[in-house]
């Protein structure tokens, strides 16, 4: 996987990150994150929990390079993100981050295969079709490649979303409430796939969720409240399960 980083260096390194949003005309300041520090190593399976308004979405946006911190530093794969231009951020997103969204966010008129090819298009990757086919096979959708999202079930759509996120072999798979819109059986299926990707393929996974049973799958659970990390528990026994 991430050959650029040395073995010990964390994939994600967050130091004293503060994010302040200015509301209205700058008169009200909201501290969404307040001095957060966090390291995530290669191959970890991390869940980020917290109530709504706790700052977990903001943290996810920063980890996903969709946003930059107001203060503090953030390195992904050793690269400092906090001072990057919009285009450099887009570049990092296209190479390092695989997003899985709650509302899968597939383009409705593209086939599953074309949706999975999409991120590679912006990175100008070679062999896009083969890679996309392979990614869809990994999520057991080899027989649904030419279907459009509307022709797929909710669980299948989310599997396409996962294939799209992992196709470019990202440094981190970032899933925001990946099962939020799914029923119990589909939830189990999606969580199994994510666990397999982590355990068998060694992909670093960060799941943002407010559901305990989703977080229970992870090796490490980080809980946020009011912009602070209030707990960070690692459960080594989960790896064996």
């Amino acid at each position: 996987m991430s050959t650029t980083s040395t073995k010990d260096a964390p994939v994600i390194q967050i130091r004293d990150v503060t994010k302040i949003y200015e509301m209205g005309d700058g008169t009200i300041q909201v501290r969404a994150l307040d001095g957060v520090s966090l390291d995530i190593s290669d191959g970890e399976y991390v869940a980020i929990m917290g109530a709504s308004g706790s700052g977990k979405s903001t943290l996810m946006n920063i980890i996903g390079c969709l946003d930059v911190p107001t203060e503090g530093t953030y390195h992904i794969d050793g690269q400092a993100v906090e001072s990057m231009s919009n285009d450099r951020l887009a570049d990092i997103r296209s190479r390092k981050v695989g997003f899985v969204f709650q509302t899968h966010n597939l383009l409705p008129r593209l086939t599953a295969l074309a949706n999975v090819e999409l991120p590679m298009m912006y990175g100008r990757w070679p062999n896009r079709r083969t890679r996309a086919e392979h990614a869809l096979e990994l999520v057991n959708l080899a027989d649904r490649m030419d279907h459009r999202p509307t022709e797929l079930s909710g669980g299948q759509q989310q599997r396409v979303g996962i294939a799209r996120a992992l196709v470019k072999e990202p440094s981190v798979l970032l899933a925001d409430e990946p099962t939020g819109n799914l029923d119990t059986s589909n939830t189990t299926e999606i969580l199994n796939i994510i666990s397999d990707l982590n355990h068998q393929n060694g992909i670093t996974v960060i799941v943002v969720t407010h559901e305990r049973d989703v977080a229970a799958r992870a090796d490490r659970v980080i809980t946020l409240s009011d912009g602070h990390i209030i707990s960070d528990e690692t459960r080594p026994q989960a790896t064996a399960a």
């Binding site: 969709l66 887009a90 296209s94 966010n105 008129r109 912006y122 799209r164």
Partner: protein, 399 residues
């Protein structure tokens, strides 16, 4: 993002709302179509007027008397190559009206007395027979050359050569028929006889001194460039032979001047028509911008997804500008086809009380296509930049 991907992505987006794309396209189609049609009409009418005037020969000068009569002596003086090196041919004429009669048919027409040079000076061609020759002029022969319409009126489809006709009661022999001509001052409805015959046999007026007076003298300059020189030579020779010291007693008309005036007027018309049509193209462009702005708002979430997938600002700009250019270029192509079809369809037809002449030149469609692409670029950039400036987080949250 490779150019092929940009094109593919734009086509994908356009195909997602076909009706809207088609309606936006329609504005450009109508704009380009009207530009092409109106410009073709402009060009066509310029051609028509030029053709009419050039039918007379653009190096043709006309001298008419404005005091003393012009005579055959003046014609001889103008024919002297020593004094008039820029003049190629001189053709005097006398005009009169007459009745031509053959068996049961009678027609009223203008009878013009001419010399053999008339054929060359007026660019005439014979349909059958021969033109009036020098021996005819010298012997005041009673021979006639008929215009094509006169020939048809009197003889139908028969060849009238060597037939006898009566002009104002005198017997004339038909020696030839002119080929039909279009244009200004067509001679189809005229009959030509030797100038001497016209003077002595048909015309009532005489001038003292035994000279033959003529109504006008057509002068053919050597070429278009020597027209000005020829005018000077005509004036010098005629002032000498008329022994003038003050104002001229004749007037020289320059065909080229008339032509230039017409062309200038028409050029203004073409530009005006083009500008009017250009406004409709501009309106079409604003329509494209409107559609693109709506499309950006509607596809906010799609833009957010693409940004999250790693699309740079320039990728988003490229996608939306390409979409706009596709619309205008597609509209341009359809408009060019429609415009050429329309222009060709009305060419030479009689509509709304006028004859329409159009000419489609290669440059008009090419310019129209370039302009329509430019319209797409111009009106596509603002919506595209708005799309690219969206914040990915907000765009992803957009419902």
């Amino acid at each position: 993002m490779s150019p092929l991907d940009i094109i593919r992505t734009s086509l994908y987006s356009l195909s997602s709302n076909r009706l809207r794309a088609a309606l936006a396209l329609l504005g450009i189609v109508l704009g380009v179509c009207s530009v092409i049609t109106l410009m073709s009409i402009g060009r066509g009418s310029t051609d028509r007027i030029t053709e009419l005037i050039q039918g007379l020969g653009s190096n043709l000068l006309t001298v008419i008397p404005s005091g003393e009569p012009l005579t055959l002596a003046d014609v001889d003086a103008l024919n002297d190559p020593l004094y008039t090196p820029s003049i190629k041919a001189v053709a005097p004429q006398i005009g009169t009206f007459g009745t031509i009669h053959v068996s049961n048919n009678t027609t009223q027409t203008s009878i013009t007395g001419v010399t053999p040079e008339f054929l060359q000076v007026r660019n005439l061609e014979m349909a059958t027979g021969t033109f009036i020759g020098s021996p005819h002029v010298e012997s005041r022969a009673e021979v006639v050359v008929l215009g094509s319409q006169v020939s048809e009126d009197l003889f139908g489809n028969q060849d009238p050569t060597n037939a006898e006709v009566r002009i104002n009661g005198r017997q004339f022999r038909v020696v030839g028929v002119l080929a039909s001509q279009t244009g200004f001052g067509s001679l189809d409805d005229q009959a030509l006889i030797p100038i001497t015959t016209a003077y002595y046999r048909l015309s009532g007026q005489r001038i003292p001194g035994g000279n033959i007076s003529v109504d006008q003298i057509s002068v053919q300059a050597r070429d278009v460039e020597s027209v000005d020189q020829a005018i000077e030579e005509i004036e010098t020779v005629l002032r000498l032979s008329h022994r003038l010291t003050d104002a001229d007693d004749f007037t020289v008309f320059n065909q080229q001047e008339i032509l230039d005036t017409f062309e200038e007027t028409n050029q203004t018309l073409v530009v005006f028509l083009g500008a009017v049509a250009g406004i409709s193209l501009l309106v079409g462009g604003i329509g494209i911008m409107n559609i693109m702005l709506v499309s950006v708002t509607e596809r906010t979430r799609e833009i957010g997804i693409r940004q999250a997938m790693g699309a740079k600002r320039r990728d988003i700009v490229a996608q939306f500008v390409t979409e706009a250019v596709f619309l205008t270029f597609g509209g341009g192509i359809i408009g060019v086809i429609a415009g050429i079809t329309l222009a060709t369809a009305i060419d030479g037809r009689f509509l709304i009380g006028a004859e329409w002449n159009t000419r489609v030149t290669n440059d008009i469609p090419i310019i129209a296509l370039i302009v329509s692409v430019a319209v797409g670029l111009f009106f596509g950039i603002y919506p595209a930049v708005r799309a690219a400036r969206l914040n990915p987080i907000e765009a992803l949250r957009y419902e």
